[in-house]
Symmetry: C2
Subunit: 195 residues, 2 copies
Amino acid sequence: MDGERTKRLILETAVRLATIEGLDGLSIGKLSNATDVSKSGVYAHFDSKEDLQLATVDTARQLFIDVVVMPALDVHGLGRLSALCESFLSYVENRTLPGGCFFAAAAAELGGRPGPLKERVRANQSDWIRLLTEASEEAVRRGELRADTDVAVLVFELNALVVSANTGFVLHEDPAILSRARIAVARALAAAAPA
Amino acid sequence: MDGERTKRLILETAVRLATIEGLDGLSIGKLSNATDVSKSGVYAHFDSKEDLQLATVDTARQLFIDVVVMPALDVHGLGRLSALCESFLSYVENRTLPGGCFFAAAAAELGGRPGPLKERVRANQSDWIRLLTEASEEAVRRGELRADTDVAVLVFELNALVVSANTGFVLHEDPAILSRARIAVARALAAAAPA
DNA sequence: TCCTAATTAGTACGATCGTTCGTACTAACT
DNA sequence: AGTTAGTACGAACGATCGTACTAATTAGGA
């Protein structure tokens, strides 16, 4: 009953902390300080640090779905595709998380480190790519994008643009980067528009 | 001087290690193990861990210049622009470093962490962006790209594509990602070609 | 060849890491 | 009222962290 609220507090703090310290740099002690829960009180909710990290990824996934994915689901096809990109860029611009997109940071951190943690992050990244892919395919079916569109390349392009906007914005704190990203996204979509 | 050779060994190992453990996850103990130099032997070459990290960034910079930048400098304008992208992608594809591009990892890791280390990484990233920008501007002057090309957006696009290819390739170990990146780079350049 | 300086090894420190334990306190159910 | 489950606590563990010393080794110039 009450434990569930504490656990949520811990995990939400963990998500925020992990975007600046990294999923590995996140330590039980720092989490204890940031939440005013004792070190053992933090640890009591998880079997191991890896368990905590996995739970943190799941929490970040839910946040991502809430603020990026859901708002774009009430439109379809090309509209959804561009809405997904835009809500991602807003999610970065609004500083929803202090270190920018959780999964962008996690993917870069865990890239070369095999294990269940990398697998979970990769699964989430694949879901995101699949979401973009399905929206693109529907846009093609609807005739909003050219029939000969190379969907895999288009999705790669769009994802690259928004993720790179995240990294650049966090590193340089320059909002001009988000403008460039928006222009580039619009151009990528326009380039695939039917004649 | 034998010390200089040991120092180089340490730093080259540090660059390799940092691409998988992160610049912060890199510890003196692990470096000692990986180099068969005693812990204090490692530490003797640096004033502090931060000093070691800064020197590691500088070493990675030199590597990047050697394998990515230099090979592209004997062509000019559009040729140089596309050569820079291609040598970056090769540098990723050849697994020059086990965790992919050093600076892509470092930028993601240090994004939200102010300090001299972040500043040094940002400076290197800015140099890379400037290199792409100058090549683009020359391509415009030469008439190889349209006169109304938005260079800042084009450079943002190209950088996003190659960096995202790095992250994706390291995360998924799927060479198809590099193919998509090459197609996307070619298209971005083609889109800016004169009528 | 001896001296001196540069280079590496050895050892130890306080702090923090992940983890385990025993123990209170609280709320619910019997 | 007594038992049980849930919840959080403080203390302590071995290991490793960055860092600071001193001692041994090595190398180069006289």
